[in-house]
């Protein structure tokens, strides 16, 4: 803006200089020169704030517009250094608080007489304009900023209000109140997937917490029974004197109880390791069919005694941990043998459809009621709570199978229909 005014002033002053120069150039006689001041007055009248001074070669003032006392300084500069005195150089200075711009130049009259002309423009009106402009601009900017900020605040507040509602709900969720869900009604489309995902996460957490608390109470229950047995037995034993055979009998009975507890604790530790991600399967190639053969070998006598036959078909190899997979298969097979009626067959089928290996362990026998299926792999979960403890372990076998399969990145599922219970173990077989 400032530069623009400067250029405009320079241009205007140059215009006037040209005019004056022109008048001088045409004045070739003394008579014409004498008429020049009048002509200059006429030419310069009505130009507010413009002052012109003309000096002759000796420095005497030859012409000056009224009130034109201030260009003197400019003329002195010009006399001292004529080189600086061209129309190209715009001078600017302040005097008595008034800003001026001016140019000076040497001109030659028609008869060859040299003169120096100084033109000075009072630019107070520009300054005034600039000041007003500046303050107006400042106010406008301030107002715009204020408007933008408040509008932005309002829009953000309005736009984020669903998120605030979500936040309030989330803040109210604790381990005791996992039943809360985010309201999906009235949410903008962008937030719907978030709410759905969040609700799904809550449902999983809720489920996990429920299982965990059940697990804890189950542990307490499972340990309380043998401990109370041991205590009662010992108290009864001590209540009267007995012979050593009787004591021996009591100790043996205690030992059985201890062993069962030790195995349960061992299984629980194994599961705890799985929970903490400490079960890291090795990656050797495990031939599942030879593992099955070995396990059949192991269980053969037991199965035969129960009148159950074992049948194996197909083959598959997967990368994994031999001991862990063997343990998983062992649990499934012993479980199947246990629930097969006399005279029937437990079947293990190995298949490799695509890039996975599928192991199916199936046995005919009483179906598992549908309501129990989703919780079958829960720890300590028993289909029949009244079932004799001794025959069924601690109810951790299938939970261990699930942990092992999941540590291998596989999936364990079960179906029970038409008198056949079928456990299916799907393991990834990269590059297979």
């Amino acid at each position: 803006m400032e530069a623009h005014f400067e250029e405009e002033d320079h241009h205007e002053l140059n215009g006037k200089l040209d005019l004056i120069q022109n008048l001088f150039r045409h004045a070739s006689s003394q008579r014409e020169l004498d008429r020049l001041p009048q002509q200059l007055d006429d030419a310069l009248v009505g130009h507010h704030g413009l002052a012109v001074v003309v000096t002759d070669g000796t420095g005497n003032i030859w012409f000056a517009t009224s009130g034109a006392d201030f260009p003197h300084r400019l003329l002195q500069v010009c006399q001292a250094r004529p080189a600086a005195c061209t129309e190209e150089t715009l001078h600017q200075w302040q005097k008595n608080g008034v800003s001026n711009r001016g140019i000076a130049a040497s001109i030659t009259a028609g008869d060859g007489t040299p003169y120096i002309v100084a033109l000075v423009q009072d630019i107070q009106h520009h300054e005034l304009f600039m000041d007003t402009f500046r303050s107006l601009l400042g106010i406008a900017i301030a107002l715009a900023a204020l408007a933008t900020a408040s509008l932005g605040w309002a829009v953000t507040r309005w736009g984020l209000s669903p998120l605030r509602k979500v936040t309030d709900t989330v803040a109210g969720i604790s381990a005791e109140r996992l039943g809360a869900r985010l309201p999906s009604a009235g949410l903008p489309a962008e937030l719907m997937p978030l709410a759905t995902a969040f609700n799904a996460m809550l449902a999983r957490l809720d489920d996990a917490f429920r299982r965990l608390s059940e697990f804890s109470s189950n542990i307490a229950h499972e340990l309380r029974t043998p401990i109370s047995n041991l205590m009662t037995q010992t108290q009864v034993a001590l209540s009267t004197a007995r012979n050593s055979d009787e004591y021996k009998e009591i100790l043996y009975s205690s030992l059985e109880e201890y062993e069962r507890m030790a195995q349960m604790v061992g299984d629980m530790l194994y599961l705890a390791q799985a929970d903490n991600g400490l079960l890291r399967p090795g990656l050797e190639t495990v031939d599942l069919s030879s593992e099955t053969t070995n396990l059949f070998d192991y269980f053969e006598a037991w199965a035969e005694e129960r009148g159950v036959s074992l049948l194996q078909t197909g083959s598959a190899s997967v990368p994994g941990d031999r001991l862990m997979l063997r343990r998983a298969l062992s649990n499934l097979i012993s479980n199947a043998i246990r629930h097969t009626p006399q005279g029937h067959t437990v079947r293990v089928t190995l298949e490799t459809p695509g890039d996975k290996a599928v192991v199916v362990v199936e046995n005919p026998g009483p179906e598992i009621p549908a309501g129990h299926i989703p919780r079958l792999f829960d720890r300590f979960y028993r289909v029949d709570p009244s079932r004799e403890r001794k025959s069924d372990g601690a109810g951790l076998g299938l939970a261990i199978v699930k942990s092992i399969v999941e540590a291998h990145g596989g999936v364990l599922s079960v179906t029970s229909a038409n008198g056949v219970t079928r456990f299916q173990l799907t393991l990834p077989m990269p590059g297979g």
């Binding site: 201890y258 195995q263 070998d297 192991y298 006598a301 037991w302 012993s334 069924d392 372990g393």
Partner: protein, 229 residues
């Protein structure tokens, strides 16, 4: 046979000492790592049973100290921490075997005997005998009182294990791991059934029984007549 037990838990230490002494071993008991290392350097032990969690030096440090001192005897670790890293660490440091607490005493006894036997390479007998029972390892044939007994491969392996370790009580877990390579506890009575069937074949119809149940512990192969004389 001398065994050093390094165990800080007073009850466990006392019972281990009593049990091993009663099994016929000479035993010393150290209550912490420093004492254990000291005793191990002075006495010549055939086996050191080392708890991992010890005051002073822990089990790993004791083992390192032993190996630095040039003591290469077998070391059996007892660990309550059933964690993979621990096992790896122990075996890397040169432990020979480990048992996770709680363990069956019969299991400890069997493992200890295995470790101590490792040092003394005996002549591989081609025929194993107890009483009138003979097991020909080369021809894979079993006879009792001159009468041929038909055994399946696993029954043969089972009987061979009993004969090699006659007089020792073998816990079920050891039998499962030695004969079937099953290294985990099963909640089935598979081993009992297998032994019952083996018994029918070798003991039925004979006056003296060879395979005996040791309640709460496992099974043992023993000739009653030999024991009496």
């Amino acid at each position: 046979m001398k065994i050093l037990i390094v165990e800080d838990e007073p009850k466990t230490g006392a019972y281990l000492k009593q049990g091993l002494s009663e099994a016929g071993f000479v035993t010393d008991l150290a209550r912490d790592g420093w004492e254990g290392l000291q005793l191990a350097k002075e006495g010549h032990y055939d086996l050191i049973i080392l708890d991992v969690m010890l005051p002073g030096l822990d089990g790993w440090q004791v083992l390192e100290g032993l190996r630095r001192a040039g003591i290469e005897g077998p070391v059996l670790f007892l660990t309550a921490r059933d964690q993979v890293e621990d096992r790896v660490k122990g075996l890397e440091l040169g432990a020979d075997d480990y048992l996770v607490k709680p363990f069956a005493f019969a299991e400890l006894l069997a493992r200890a005997r295995t470790l101590m036997r490792r040092g003394q390479a005996g002549l591989e007998a081609a025929v194993l005998r107890v009483g009138d029972l003979e097991l020909d390892l080369l021809r894979r044939r079993a006879t009792r009182a001159g009468r041929r007994i038909d055994l399946t491969a696993k029954e043969f392996a089972l009987l061979e294990l009993f004969l090699r370790r006659k007089g020792e009580v073998l816990p079920r877990s050891l039998i499962a791991s030695q004969v079937w390579d099953m290294n985990f506890d099963s909640d089935t009575n598979v081993i009992d059934v297998a032994i019952r069937r083996l018994r029918v074949k070798i003991d039925d119809g004979f006056e003296s029984k060879l395979i005996h149940t040791v309640r709460g512990m496992g099974y043992v192969l023993e000739n009653d007549l030999e024991n009496q004389t």
